[in-house]
């Protein structure tokens, strides 16, 4: 593969030489023609093997510079061998002038033909390359679509399971909870016993938190959509997580563009998305950091759609979209974990600190909105979360 890749690079470099490379080639071809010319003179035009060597720079020039290169090099070769005509006369070799004209015409024919041939080959090469790129992209999109389908099927089955599991687990939890409350009220004031009961009570609350996540996950299908601005939702979400941000010594910078178009969202659900993302960022920057939230509106380019938001089948090139960017200055996410971020029950947080459902729910809510989410590490450190919503027309009354 490496060899083929190297050949490809070499071909690409010399197929269309630019600047210094082109000048170098011209000099080399000119030098070849001159050298062969000298050899022709030295042999007095008798050694036709040297004369035939002239085809080498002509073909080379035509291959690199196509038809103009073939013609110019053929004319140059003709001019170079022209003066040898008088040389062979003293040596008694008969060579009519028409022979030189014929030879130059033949050079021109070979130069032009080779130029046309290489131009055609180059066009075919370009077409093949384009087709290869399209195939590679189609293959990547197919792979992404397949991954999306697998992910969707996985999420759907987990969603169906979640409601049942939640119900079955809540009854035993209720028994434990009531049992603990009963024991707490009836046992004497032994401090150790109280501590144990308190820890068990905390464990019940933690388990209940996981169940709540499961229920949220299984219930996030219904949307109450309304056309509204994202900025107030972001502001409200930041207020709701302010305590966590202060606790983690995280400063917040907002760059919210007031001129962005409204979007069609379920306010509560999208608020849940922002809260999940802000909480994750705050917890990632446990001992201090900066959270930056930016909103912008943009016209989507092909590059963004094919590279950045890989699951962008709901968006088209030129669509207007509202983008929310959330940057943190935390340690980032290990590269091998990035693909698993949206998997249910996957968490990078310590045991007991996260249920591993937050980002699954976030992704599900975004999918329900036909909106996109992309999470990646930033080159300068930390994590960048990008959310993309379809921009809506602002109604006349708003």
């Amino acid at each position: 593969m490496t060899t083929l890749h190297d050949i490809d690079l070499f071909m690409e470099k010399w197929r269309n030489p630019r600047g210094g490379e082109a000048a170098m080639l011209i000099v080399a071809i000119a030098a070849m023609i001159a050298c062969i010319g000298v050899l022709v003179y030295e042999t007095g035009g008798t050694a036709f093997v040297w004369l035939n060597m002239m085809y080498l720079p002509i073909v080379l020039s035509a291959a690199v510079f196509r038809i103009p290169g073939g013609i110019v090099s053929a004319l140059a070769a003709g001019l170079v061998i022209g003066p040898y005509m008088p040389l062979y006369v003293p040596r008694g070799i008969e060579q009519p002038a028409s022979n030189w004209i014929l030879r130059t015409a033949f050079f021109l024919l070979i130069g032009s033909f080779t130029g046309v041939l290489f131009k055609w080959l180059s066009m075919q090469f370009d077409r093949l390359k384009e087709a290869h790129e399209e195939l590679t992209q189609a293959h990547a999109e197919l792979q992404n679509a397949q991954m999306e389908l697998i992910q969707a099927a996985k999420l759907e089955s987990i969603g169906r399971l979640a409601a049942g599991v939640a119900h079955e687990v809540k009854n035993p939890l209720a028994i434990i909870q009531l049992g603990l409350n009963f024991l707490e009220a009836t046992l004497d004031g032994n401090r150790d016993v109280k501590d144990v009961i308190s820890e068990m009570d905390e464990a019940v609350k933690r388990a209940d938190g996981v169940i709540k996540g499961l229920v949220d996950f299984s219930r996030s299908e219904k949307l109450d959509l309304a056309i509204q601005d994202l900025n107030p939702i972001i502001g409200n979400s930041l207020n709701l997580v302010r305590h966590e941000l202060v606790k983690c010594h995280v400063s917040v910078e907002t760059r919210l563009d007031n001129s962005i178009s409204p979007v069609a969202v379920d306010r509560n659900k999208i608020q849940q998305v922002f809260i999940n993302l802000f909480m994750n960022a705050a917890q990632a920057m446990e001992n201090s950091g900066k959270l930056t939230v930016t909103t912008t509106e943009k016209e989507l380019s092909k590059k963004e759609l094919s590279g950045f938001f890989r699951q962008a089948h709901n968006f088209g090139e030129g669509d207007r979209a509202v983008m929310v960017e959330i940057f943190d200055t935390g340690p980032g996410i290990p590269e091998d974990k990035l693909d698993k971020l949206f998997d249910p029950f996957f968490t990078t947080k310590p045991t007991g600190k996260g249920t591993g459902l937050g980002l699954s729910i976030t992704r599900k809510i975004m999918d329900l909105h036909d909106a996109l989410i992309d999470i990646r590490n930033r080159e300068e450190g930390g994590v960048a979360v990008n959310l993309l919503f379809k921009a809506q027309q602002r109604s006349a009354s708003s």
Partner: protein, 124 residues
Amino acid sequence: MKKKILVVDDEPNLTRMVRRGLEARGDYLVMEVNAGNRALAAARNFRPDLVLLDVMMPDVDGGSVASEFAEANDLKHVPIVFLTAIVTRAETQPTGSVIGKHTFLAKPVNLDDLITCIEDHLGK
């Protein structure tokens, strides 16, 4: 005089735990019923001041049981509190939230919150 609480849930361990918790406080007399279709008959016999009712039960759902109570002239005045796993604590207040005509308490419930909810309904 002790208040009578009828606890209807298909989970015997749960009804037993509710009974123990409430009766330990000394203010309540609790009857356990572990099948929704026996709730009406048990209520007629026990004459409860309040019913704690599960929603998802294998024989009959809590909504149907509540409808039967609402249609029975001798029981329609008895307040019903749904103690259920179908809502989460985040969706309800710790001491219950009114959804439609009924109060819902989310499982798992804290005993103090359960008692506060009962007392609210009994007008203490």
